[in-house]
């Protein structure tokens, strides 16, 4: 029983360490234009 709990904790720790955290990145994300004279 103790071994099972230990394994679960180890698995949780492993997953926790590999979760990808979104990195803040400098970039232009979106551009919107309003145009006139388009047919």
């Amino acid at each position: 029983m103790k071994t099972r709990t230990g394994r679960r904790i180890a698995l949780l720790l492993l997953l926790g360490s590999t979760v990808v955290v979104p990195v803040a990145r400098a970039q232009v994300k979106h551009i919107e234009m309003r145009v006139e004279g388009m047919t």
């Binding site: 232009v28 979106h30 234009m33 309003r34 145009v35 004279g37 388009m38």
Partner: protein, 135 residues
């Protein structure tokens, strides 16, 4: 126009809405997109740009004249048109904080043709989020 804009550097997708004259441009993640170039390309395709808004993330920097700007690439930054929102970002100048803002880069004034020879200023409309970047 859609094809013309789609060929510009850094453009991933262009959506054109003929009904309300809205053009949505989705940039690639390569950071090559140049909004000023896009503005010129739109004029070249024979339509008039009434307004351009963009959403961008970057660091707050001060240029050589002491004006605040959003630096989105090493060699690309947008100077802010001063308003209350830009003043609020002043304490972040020179820090590693990445700020996401939505702002107006261009608005047509009357019937005058756009003067794209002078640098355009970004009028911040909304500060969306600030994230402390880890070194």
């Amino acid at each position: 126009m859609k094809q013309h804009l789609g060929r510009q550097a850094g453009v991933q997708k262009v959506d054109v809405n003929l009904l309300d004259g809205k053009v949505d441009v989705t940039p690639k993640e390569d950071g090559q997109i140049d909004p000023i170039q896009l503005l010129k390309a739109t004029y070249d395709s024979g339509v008039t740009v009434a307004e351009m808004e963009l959403t961008a993330s970057g660091k707050i920097v001060k240029d050589s004249s002491g004006n605040l700007a959003l630096q989105v690439e090493l060699n690309r930054s947008f100077a802010f048109a001063p308003n209350e929102l830009s003043k609020g970002l002043e304490p972040l100048a020179g820090t590693q904080t990445i700020v996401t803002v939505r702002g107006q880069l261009y608005k047509k004034a009357g019937k005058k043709k756009a003067d794209l020879s002078t640098p355009l200023k970004l009028l911040i409309l909304e500060v969306q989020k600030e994230v402390q970047k880890k070194e």
